[in-house]
């Protein structure tokens, strides 16, 4: 890194190269990342963050492409983080979401970053959240985050995004699945995509009924159901308007701090836990007692429960009495 304050200045000025390099430092868990994030943090908190989730192939990337077009018409600067799964076999990944967003590649006011899930069940990691902080600090007004379409993602994205769109496809029973999975509570806007492929009206109607039934939402927002044909860009203007309406609603929410508190607490806990894990990792790498305990375990001279407690106590002592 050439010059730290120069680097930070560039990120804050929205320089795409600097922002991209910052996100790499985050992904690599570079020791500099923590301090840099600390410097960027005061400049974040301004972006409106939209999460787009739904089953694989439902049309999430195509919808994001259409939303970028809509938001650009209103002169918003748009940042996108698109998560695709990491292969559990090789640790590699194919990141193909931005293939559907090609037309925006050279728009200076659009920044698209692909991210591999790197083994997280829901595909969202602290790295995703920290990358969102960077895009926010770069001055993007709206962030669109595409998750991998796995059940867990819906919960995780709700701790990052202000507004969540769940994409379903007609006739796929996704509505019922959503009820079963309990994700209905997390959706702010339901998007029935591929309106050309099946009876979108039926699906939209069913969804509306299910939402009506489960309407014990803490925020008082009435979830919307919107039909799209994303390939043709149909319904996208309405969808963009719905997200902005939700943003306005949140602006006047009598109790906005409740969800905010949940969100911030979860992130903070996650951060503290990660720092603690690093200490633990350092202990395991360096302390001669650790391989000794493993040997005892293997010889069944000690049970794993007692062993775990012993290790923990030792770390605790280390933490309180000097480094």
């Amino acid at each position: 890194m050439p010059d730290r304050s120069d680097f930070i200045k560039k990120i804050l000025a929205g320089d795409p190269g600097a922002g991209a390099r910052m996100i790499r430092l985050i992904e690599a868990d570079d020791p500099q990342a923590f301090g840099l994030l600390r410097a960027l943090y005061p400049h974040s908190g301004k972006a409106f963050i939209i999460g787009i989730t739904g089953a694989p192939g439902a049309g999430k990337s195509t919808i994001i492409n259409g939303l970028i077009t809509q938001f650009r018409k209103q002169n918003f600067k748009v940042g996108v983080i698109a998560v695709d799964p990491t292969s559990p076999f090789s640790g590699g990944a194919i990141l193909g979401d931005r293939l559907r967003m090609q037309t925006h590649a050279t728009d200076e006011n659009v920044f698209i970053r692909s991210m591999a899930s790197r083994g997280r069940a829901g595909g969202l990691s602290r790295a995703t959240r920290d990358a969102a902080l960077v895009l926010d600090a770069m001055g993007h007004h709206i962030l669109l985050i595409e998750t991998v379409g796995a059940g867990q993602a819906e919960f995780e994205i709700s701790y990052l995004a202000h507004s969540i769109g769940i994409v379903v496809v007609p006739g796929s029973c996704d509505g019922i699945q959503a009820v079963k999975a309990g994700i209905l509570e997390t959706g702010d806007i339901f998007i029935v995509n591929k309106g050309d492929m099946g009876d979108a009206d039926v699906s939209a109607h069913q969804l509306s009924m299910v939402i009506e039934m489960g309407k014990a939402r803490k925020t008082g927002w009435n979830p919307r159901v919107i039909k799209t044909h994303a390939l043709e860009g149909l319904g996208l203007a309405e969808l963009a308007a719905a997200f902005l309406a939700h943003r306005d609603f949140l602006g006047t929410d009598p109790d906005p701090d409740k969800t905010r508190k949940e969100r911030e607490t979860l992130y903070f806990n996650c951060l503290v836990r990660e720092l603690a894990m690093k200490k633990l990792g350092a202990f395991m790498e360096t302390d001669p007692a650790y391989p000794e305990i493993i040997n005892q375990l293997l010889a069944r001279e000690i049970d794993p429960f007692t062993a775990a407690e012993q290790v923990f106590k030792k770390i605790q002592r280390k933490m309180t009495h000097g480094k």
Partner: protein, 133 residues
């Protein structure tokens, strides 16, 4: 988290299909790379913008049209101009062997002509990074 090598696979110009590029993308994923796959028909401006936003380590071009010399020359010049001199450019596709020295000389880091085995591509890609580690 370790620092994975990020590769952008792109097909500049209007030529052909992307079957070969897709298969190479899959092979690279299976070798542990993070591959940004962007399909057909990119302009060089798009390739530069994507490489910047994704902060990739390698740009891999698949070229079947025979225009590999002018395309690589132009892209390398753009990479320097846009502040991306550290990104390695590699090329595959229909590349006559007699053109390889000229490509290397202008700054292409590796050339994988059609028929190069996946093992050779993988080891060639990894070799790009072993020198400095």
């Amino acid at each position: 988290m370790e620092n994975k090598i990020r590769v952008l696979i792109a097909k500049p110009g209007l030529d052909g299909h992307d079957k070969g590029a897709k298969i190479v993308a899959l092979a690279l994923r299976d070798a542990g790379f993070e591959v940004i796959y962007t399909g057909l028909h990119q302009t060089l401006e798009q390739i530069i913008a994507i490489a910047t936003q994704e902060a990739v380590d390698v740009i891999g071009l698949s070229i079947m049209s025979g225009a590999h010399l002018p395309i690589c020359r132009k892209l390398l010049a753009m990479m320097i101009k846009k502040g991306l001199p550290d990104i390695r450019l590699v090329v595959g596709g229909v590349i006559p062997f007699q053109d390889i020295p000229a490509l290397k000389q202008m700054g292409v880091a590796a050339v994988f002509p059609g028929g190069t085995s996946f093992e050779d591509i993988n080891s060639g890609m990894k070799a790009l990074f072993e020198k400095e580690r």
